[in-house]
Amino acid sequence: MKKNKFSIFIFVLFLASFVACKKSDDPAPIISGKYEKGVLVINEGNFSEGNGSLSFLFPNDSLANGIFENENGGLKIGGTIQSVNSYLSGTNKKLAVVTNRKDQVILADADSLNFMAVVYPEADKRLDNPVSFAAIGEKGFVSNWGDINQAFGNYPKGFLTEINLKNNTFSRKIALDGVRPQDVIAANNKLYVTVSNGSDIYVYDSNGNFLKNIPVEQSPDKMLIDKNGKIWVICNNEPDYVNFTDNEGTLLRINPETDAVEQSIPNVPCGSYNSKIAYYNDKIYSLRDKKVFVIDTTNSSVNELISNDFSLYGIGVNPNNGDLYLGEYIFASSSRVRQLSKEGDLIREYLVGIGTNGFLFF
């Protein structure tokens, strides 16, 4: 990141000064490619205000906050962001921003951040506490907890929402009775859904037809795909919800060709719920409060990388250089984001939006 191209730096600096000086009644210039390279910072926002936002770290290390509002004439996201995923529509890179507190899936162009469309719950509750998004071809799938009155009861009424990404409209709901789904991810032209109130991963084909369930450990949470195209999932196991003692989960590797569990790494420090993991070069990083742990997938070793001086909520690793990005666990104020080297040394700190819960790298 530090060795970035100077030309982009000058270009972005020029654009930033232009935006800063423009009068509010000037039409917003459409600048394609403005966010083509850099780090998209996902700020969840707090639940009472639904003030999720997006920030961007440019290759020259400059920062822009509130970029969705800036690029869309002040239009607000207006929800708490559960996840942001990028997907391809033809050759164009797009973003799906999933929020609750105002249930919606916002679709935007990834390079310009220009708003394209939004899917709302409407009368038939086509979205209800949505969590995560994954795309297969021209179909987008969104996991939903369903009615919050039932989501944490004995029989949640979760579901998947299928979105037509060709015309950006709602297609249908796929029922997940008894399930509170968490993460969704696409691999090998199939869709994987973690059943957070159980010990399964559900597998669907590209048309949304149920194929099978993969038994895993208790409370499977976030998933990611490694350099070999394999799926990693962190299972929170059975956290102590009474005393909230330090939790340890299990990392599992799943081969999407066979849907077999190929590797299991126990005793991985993680959260009790909403556990975050990141991947870089055979290493998986996990968060637990102020600490970052590194898990070497080649020998299943688990080591503490750093102990930070504030609580952490979001984690990401830049696939280009292995730099680690950490987001502060705070909802009453803007979060601090720390950029660290692979070795855990502080490179830079930024002040972004509220409750940074993840990063996308472009």
Binding site: E49, N51, K102, D103, N149, N243, S272, S334
Partner: protein
């Protein structure tokens, strides 16, 4: 079931009333019994005519007519107050002298208090804990449920319809014999709240319905010249659907028995015994129940003609049945106090109030307040006074901060505050007009402000972390003019306040030092013009809220707004009966605004009400 209960209550009181015997003067109650011990304090009193015309939640009422900032989470959904730049938990709500803030949260929901249920509403600004106890740091909201009418009998019915599926119905029966006075008040309120709110595609429809039912009953029995017994009862049930589809049910029961004994003409003993039961259910199975038994004892003595003193104690016993506490909890709080007022000279009046709380597990600070008023000019038509008050205040930790599992902190301590205020009061009147102007300047610090933060284990836990300094000025101008049958009243209230974070103790970087507290607007103003001509009246209200930050780091600012409301009323006299028709147009200029970020308030909306009053 609810209907049967209502009927039982009504019949009970009617039967009691039938036994009344005439032997004494009609009962008169002072609206604000602590006024003489609040010398030097700034007090705002709601206009009784405007109050009687409204059915709004008190959050919207205060937002329109006072300089206070109300943090409303949407229309009638949840509202907290910020007085003098303090937080939601820094204002005590007193109902007939009893603090009814939620003991678990340590704050009150101002959207859950309808104006219809109370006979008088007052706000005392600034530190008032020596008078009212815990939480009165920014101020205190003083509700009085009953002020007996001077008429023998008054029965009224009110029906109101309005925008967004608004439907209010209320009935009130009042009787004032020379021995017994009573009032029964029943009301229901339904609101679909289906107004348009901004969205990415233009507007979408809000869907946060509210269904409210309330009953309040008050009775005062003046046994003889020495003994008076009062009973107060208030039950409300408020079912709300929040923006995320979650449901919130609030059931609040409040009962009070008040005995007053006067002897040797100037000595008085009062004893209040109260029971409250606050039940809150979030969604289907997350419940919180707090029951409270309270006893407030007072002995008041008038020494000579110029010195009075009141000694008293307050005992509160809480029983909590809260899912998140994992077991039933109890807590005993005792407070002892002394109020005194001395008219030292013709021009100088002073008060000295002292309070000490005793609570197991932590220390409540000793809380004195000293105030004075000096009359610089005192003639029949003109009054110019200088006032000064120095006071301490405190806020006991909420029950949640002690007992919540996980995270509750048994070592949490009380917040405390020190405040100084001074000002000028000017009153001028003649036969046709009256002008009252008051300017107040204040500085205040709040220390050990409790914040919830994630701990080493990732659990959120409260600690005494934040110190805040605030300063500001308040200006009130009330002007009344009478020209033949035309009566004009105008009210101007303005507040300037700045609240800075001086430190957050565990933040080594000092990044919040000097930052303005979130949701603390620098300027707030409210102007109301009320005109009454014979049986017609018109009220114009405009209020302004300045920009305010929504976060501790002061990175995000919300827009300022000006909102105007218009009210037209016409009444018809039919012998001893009266019929009133009232039209309210709220947010006349159709502004989009938010008190809390992304919690939009409704644009222009209408309320039409008809009230029938039978007087005898």
């Amino acid at each position: 079931m609810k209907k049967k209960l209502l009927m039982a209550y009504l019949l009970g009181f009617l039967a009691w009333q039938a036994k009344a015997q005439d032997s004494l003067e009609r009962i008169v109650i002072r609206a604000y019994p602590y006024e003489k011990y609040a010398v030097g304090a700034k007090i705002w009193q709601a206009d009784s005519v405007l109050l009687s015309q409204n059915t709004l939640p008190i959050s919207q009422w205060l937002s329109a007519y006072t300089p206070a900032y109300l943090k409303e989470y949407g229309n009638g959904l949840f509202g907290s107050i910020a007085l003098r730049g303090t937080g939601a938990g820094h204002t005590a709500i007193l109902w007939n002298g009893l603090n009814i803030n939620s003991a678990t949260l340590g704050e009150g929901d101002f959207a859950n208090i309808p104006t219809f249920a109370n006979a008088s509403v007052a706000l005392q600004m600034g530190n008032a804990a020596s008078l009212y106890g815990s939480e009165a740091i920014g101020g205190a909201l003083l509700l009085s449920s009953f002020e007996p009418s001077e008429l023998d009998t008054q029965i009224s019915f009110k029906q109101e319809i309005g925008s967004f599926g608004r439907n209010f119905w209320g009935a009130e029966v009042q009787k004032n014999t020379q021995k017994i006075a009573f009032k029964t008040n029943v009301y229901t309120f339904n609101l679909k709240n289906n107004y348009e709110i901004p969205s990415l595609t233009g507007n979408t429809q809000n869907n946060t319905p509210i269904n409210y039912l309330g009953i309040s009953q008050d009775a005062i029995w003046q046994i003889n010249n020495k003994h008076t017994i009062s009973l107060h009862h208030w039950y409300n049930s408020n079912h709300r659907t929040l923006e995320n589809g979650a449901t919130l049910l609030d059931n609040n029961l409040r009962l009070m028995l008040d005995w007053e004994h006067t002897f040797h003409s100037s000595n008085r003993i009062t004893a209040k015994f109260a029971y409250t039961n606050d039940f809150l259910r979030y969604n289907l199975d997350d419940t919180t129940q707090t029951r409270r038994l309270a006893m407030i004892l007072n002995y008041e003595k008038q020494l000579k003609n110029n010195f009075s003193v009141r000694l008293g104690s307050q005992t509160q016993y809480f029983l909590m049945n809260v899912d998140a506490y994992q077991e039933k909890k109890t807590e005993l709080r005792n407070e002892f106090f002394m109020f005194s007022q001395w008219q030292a000279t013709y021009r100088l009046a002073l008060h000295l109030n002292l309070r000490q709380g005793l609570v197991s597990g932590y220390t409540a600070p000793f809380t004195p307040a000293l105030g004075l008023v000096y009359s610089l000019q005192k003639t029949e038509n003109q009054l110019l006074k200088w006032k000064l008050q120095i006071s301490r205040a405190y806020r006991l930790p909420t029950l949640n901060s002690r007992y919540w599992q996980p995270g509750g902190n048994p070592n949490i301590q009380a917040e405390n505050s020190l405040s100084t205020e001074t000002g000028i009061i000017w009153e001028k009147k003649n036969q046709k007009s009256k002008l009252q102007a008051e300017a107040t300047f204040f500085v205040m610090q709040v220390e050990d402000w409790i914040l919830w933060q994630p701990t080493e284990g990732g659990v959120w836990s409260p600690e005494n972390l934040q110190n805040v300094f605030s300063k500001g000025a308040e200006l009130s101008v009330i002007y009344q003019l009478k020209i033949k049958d035309l009566l004009l009243n105008s009210f101007l209230h303005y507040t300037f306040s700045e609240s800075f974070i001086t430190t957050i103790k565990n933040d080594q970087t000092g990044r919040f030092e000097g930052k303005i507290l979130p949701y603390s607007p620098k300027n707030r103003a409210s102007f109301t013009l009320f005109a009454n001509y014979r049986q017609h009246s018109l009220s114009w209200n405009t209020h302004f809220t300045d920009t305010r930050f929504s976060d501790l780091a002061n990175q995000n600012k919300l827009k300022s707004f000006i909102i105007s409301n218009l009210s037209l009323s016409r009444s018809f006299k039919l012998q001893s009966h009266k019929l009133s028709i009232n039209l309210n147009i709220n947010n006349l200029m159709n502004k989009t605004y938010e008190n809390i970020q992304n919690q939009y308030m409704p644009k222009r909306n209408y309320q039409l009400s008809i009230q029938y009053i039978f007087n005898k």
